[in-house]
């Protein structure tokens, strides 16, 4: 860990807001990317990333300085996104939402970037075939180079559960890839066969 980061962490532990803001600046990209891969939507990813940092800020005392801060942060983000996906599937009216007043939206409506490249879309479609927990395991493994143990710790799973989840997910992703490739090939053939007007 580099020196300024250690210092920011120490100051954050003492409640220094500016030091924590430096950590936000430093880790915004990996956290946002994880949320984006998990949720597949830029706006939801922004909210999830902001929420991740808020939770980290509130519970900074629970951070164990012996471990990597990035790992801790990404694990908070993964948990939050998994919860969001579950809520999306089963929309229930939480008592908290009833008590809560609606806040004005803080995100200064980032223009939806039209730069959804083909590559990004293909990736999104592939990840969508996995359930939230499997998806987070795959993302942590291949985007962030987490070991299986780190994933297990981050997602509160046993090492063997992570192993089998990753195995199943690789199979599912490969299958989806083959299906997409077959569909694309079929389309091309059709286009070739159809007479041009």
């Amino acid at each position: 860990m580099s020196n300024p980061e250690t210092e920011w962490l120490q100051r954050s532990l003492q409640g220094d807001e500016e030091a924590f803001a430096s950590l936000v600046e430093r880790y915004q990209n990996p956290v946002f990317n994880l949320c984006y891969r998990m949720l597949g939507d830029e706006f939801e990813a922004e909210d999830a990333a902001q929420e991740t940092f808020w939770r980290a800020y509130q519970h900074i005392q629970r951070y164990d300085p012996q471990r990597s801060f990035a790992t801790w942060l990404l694990s908070i983000a993964a948990h939050y996104c998994i919860d969001q996906q579950r809520k999306r599937r089963a929309p229930i009216l939480a008592i908290d939402d009833l008590l809560e007043e609606t806040l004005p939206d803080q995100a200064p409506d980032p223009e939806r970037t039209a730069s959804q490249t083909e590559e990004q879309l293909a990736m999104r479609k592939l990840l969508e075939t996995l359930n939230a927990q499997d998806r987070s395991a795959i993302i942590l493994r291949y985007w962030y180079d987490f070991s299986e143990e780190e994933i297990a710790r981050a997602l509160n799973l046993s090492a063997s559960a992570v192993k089998s989840r990753l195995f199943r997910s690789r199979q599912a992703l490969a299958r989806q890839f083959m299906a997409d490739a077959a569909r694309a090939a079929g389309k091309e053939r059709k286009q070739d066969e159809s007479p041009a007007f």
Partner: protein, 182 residues
């Protein structure tokens, strides 16, 4: 054709010992199905490792700092609301408990009679206290009386002030600013 254990090895994604790697290579040479799967998985893995990371819109940390204030405010308000609700609930429960207790232990006539009795006793008590103080005042020099009034009045004032201040503080800061969000 028997695809196991070779097909599983494809998806373990861990380096195989040399002997196993050779076995897998031989199986893949003879099995187009497993070969296709291996190719697909390697493609996916490549995509996972090379797809560019998504970035937030510029100004993320500024939005974070602005959001921090709003979140704090919201949390404080919620704490105040919960405290008030809890207090109101407790008072209501006590009243309800008393009501049930009286309803169960005595008839309404008894209740009425005892209410009248108690209030008369309280009234008589108050009158007696008043008389005691009046007789006391008659014996004391006027300066002491004035001083006593002054002390009582300032006590009442400071109590009121303390009460107003604590209500104001709770409504501004919440009960505790580091309470967890649930």
């Amino acid at each position: 054709m028997n695809h196991q254990p070779f097909n599983s090895w494809l998806y373990e994604d861990t380096p195989l010992p040399a002997a196993q790697a050779e076995e897998l290579r031989q199986h893949l040479q003879t099995c187009p199905d497993c070969r296709r799967q291996q190719e697909a998985w390697l493609n996916v893995r490549h995509m996972l490792r090379t797809t560019e990371a998504a970035r937030p819109q510029p100004g993320f940390s500024n939005r974070w700092q602005a959001g921090l204030e709003a979140r704090r405010l919201r949390q404080q308000r919620r704490q105040v609301r919960i405290t008030i609700l809890a207090l109101a609930g407790a008072v209501l429960l006590v009243l309800l408990g008393l009501l049930i207790y009286f309803a169960l232990t005595s008839s309404f006539a008894d209740l009425f009679a005892s209410m009248i009795g108690t209030s008369t006793q309280v009234a008589v008590g108050l009158v007696q206290i008043g008389e005691f103080f009046q007789s006391l005042l008659r014996f004391l020099p006027p300066e002491v009386t004035a001083a006593a009034w002054f002390i009582i009045a300032s006590w009442i004032c400071s109590l009121c002030l303390a009460w107003v201040l604590s209500v104001w503080r709770i409504s501004r800061k919440g009960v505790s600013s580091h309470e967890e969000l649930h």
